[in-house]
Amino acid sequence: MVIGFAIVAAWELVTAIGVVAFRRPMYNALSLVANMLGLAVLFLMLNAQFLFAAQIIVYAGAVMVLFVFIIALMNPQADISFRPRGTEWIYGVVFGVIFAALLGTLLFNHGLTGRLGAFTPEVIAAAGNVQTIGIALYTRFLFPVEVTSVLLLVAAVGAVYLAMRRIR
């Protein structure tokens, strides 16, 4: 378990750096696909099989196919072809270091506390992972689910409107 986690964690970090650092957008997209697949494995380690399937289908399947198609259709130039920029990237790195330090200190100084819930892995395994989450989704979380469904409808209508609009 620990060795597997170490391998997947290293994989996650390397592919995340790839998303940020590669110059060609297609390589960024492929790194992001690899990152999402690694994340799906982490979900499996965390006993969230439903999230594993959703991650593979929605992210690695649908979202990244959209990205790759758009990149292949538009053939955007690599960042190399943009005019050289000044020292802005230094601010980005400085921000990143400060942010990571803040997150780390917060994590280690405050510990992880919280009231334990009733859904131990045994309880979930007895009822089935998808069944438990489905019951939670359509009883306790019914309103968020409905709001999200409206959001999806609005996004679909908005995308169609944007695609149909005549360009000046």
Binding site: A9, P25, N35, F67, M74, V93, L112, A118, P121, A136
Partner: protein
Amino acid sequence: MPVPAYTFLLLSGAVFTLGAIGFMVRRNPLVVFMCIELMLNAVNLAFATMSRYLNSLDGVVFAFLVITVAAAEVVVGIAIIVQVYRAGRQMDVDELDLMKE
């Protein structure tokens, strides 16, 4: 031997930070979008971790909702990027100032 929760959270924080750096450093709008996806993924990892270690389902449910919202966001965002591209503008977030005019 189980992996302690804070290692998952540290990994989540590291990936989120990388995404934030990329969001500010990169200039191609598509790559900026990918960095946002990276940050959302890191948050999903934190949700799933807390859900697992607190024996609760709320984190998993919210991670699922985040995945849905991210899909909707990608659809609209890519539609806008394609419109900007078809309008013949430069694909550089530093040069885009359509809303200013």
